[in-house]
Amino acid sequence: MAGALDIQRRIKSIKNTKKVTKAMEIVSAAKMKKAIDQVTRLRPYAVAMHRLFESVAPNVPSEHPLLAQRDVKNILMVVIASNKGLCGGFNSAIAKVVRATIDAGDTGNVGVQKDHIATITVGRKADAMMKRLGIDPLATFPELNYAPDSPAVAPLLKMITQGYADGTYDKVLMVYTDYVNPITQEQKVRQLLPVSEADLGSQIADMDAVHVGDGTDSDVSDDQRKDRSALSAEYVVEPSNEAAIAALMPRVLESQILHALYESNASKESSRMMAMKNATDAAGDIVDDLTLAYNKMRQAKITQEISEISAGRAALE
């Protein structure tokens, strides 16, 4: 019964795999919930920063290094993906968007050729992806995929603001995955610098999207209306508008980056959850098939033995 033993061994091994994928699915579900929670908690801060920025920025001379608009020659791209695989199409979808953004060349929204694009990556997969595209990342921050918070984001933020302020880059883009719901994630390309009102606004709006279904949405929109009307309020700004914008800009960017990291984490975990769910289901199917094959084999053997015994008996009579 060598064949039956083999099948039994395979059934056992696949059952173990199934346990592992099931566990990963549960872990991912918990991590996803955590990431969504972080977006929800970041939201009031991001909204407030955005509003302050809107009320202060118009009063500041546009020569401010982080508000300057220049002809786009060099671009910095921040690409956010995962550190590890086993998360379905999560990384390949980001790679596709990055490639499309680069290929858009001088006609698309990027406006420059590949040699003028530099990247900073978050996640080892993003690093490998950019190298495959022939762009060596300036820096990579795999640790930002684990526990992104303000101090952790600081080095990345510094690289971006310095590079833009000293004129090394004329535009900073960020590519990440926005979590819509467990089965839908959207890849987004956002302009961080120069600050694009439209992009900043829609990213703030994306934070609301997560809220939907929480049942907490009604008071949020009320809040927002109140915020908008406060825009007209005349502030006394201390110590000066310039100092305020210098303190505001990094924080506006920080909240955008943190948001992107949280969304990306939520998306990654939900794709992993789906991938693991599929793997668990497939493992279940294989176990069923193999069990059937094993039972058939065993039955065939029993039938054969019976027929041998009865044939032997018939020969004796």
């Binding site: 991001a46 407030a48 920063m49 006394v236 700004v237 201390e238 110590p239 100092a243 924080r251």
Partner: protein, 136 residues
């Protein structure tokens, strides 16, 4: 009319309460906001925030950010981080300060980024200590 006071941070720890006055360390020095203050936007220093409510005082350590005073006695602190004075442990904070000072001395062996991180951590701990001193 009392003040509607809120602390909002990226981690979402937001304290929302009604208070009588708020004293904060801004970049220009310490200020106290009373009800009906004129709308104000000010840059915060690392330091402490003292909230007075019905005679009682409560302190928070604040790690930089903004103070926003809106019309209608609404005061919001948009802080990079905030900790309630009640949650701080003096011995731990003092230990952390000693450690931070030691680390800061080894500046030559660190790159600029690491040094900045150590310096920022030390400043945070000093802000925590100031809050603790106030409580006694």
């Amino acid at each position: 009319m009392p003040i509607q006071f809120k602390i909002v941070t990226p981690a979402g720890m937001s304290i929302e309460e009604t208070v009588d006055s708020v004293t904060v360390d801004t970049a220009d020095g310490q200020i106290t906001v009373l009800p009906n203050h004129t709308p104000l936007l000010s840059v915060l220093a690392q330091g402490e925030v003292m909230v007075r409510k019905a005679g009682a005082e409560e302190s928070y350590a604040i790690f930089g950010g903004f103070l926003e005073v809106k019309k209608g006695s609404e005061v919001t602190l948009l802080a990079d981080g905030a900790e309630s004075g009640l949650e701080l442990d003096e011995t731990k904070v003092k230990e952390a300060i000693e450690r931070g000072k030691e680390l800061k001395k080894q500046e030559s062996s660190m790159d600029a980024q690491e040094y900045a991180r150590v310096a920022a951590a030390l400043e945070r701990d000093l802000a925590r200590l100031r809050v603790l001193r106030r409580r006694r």
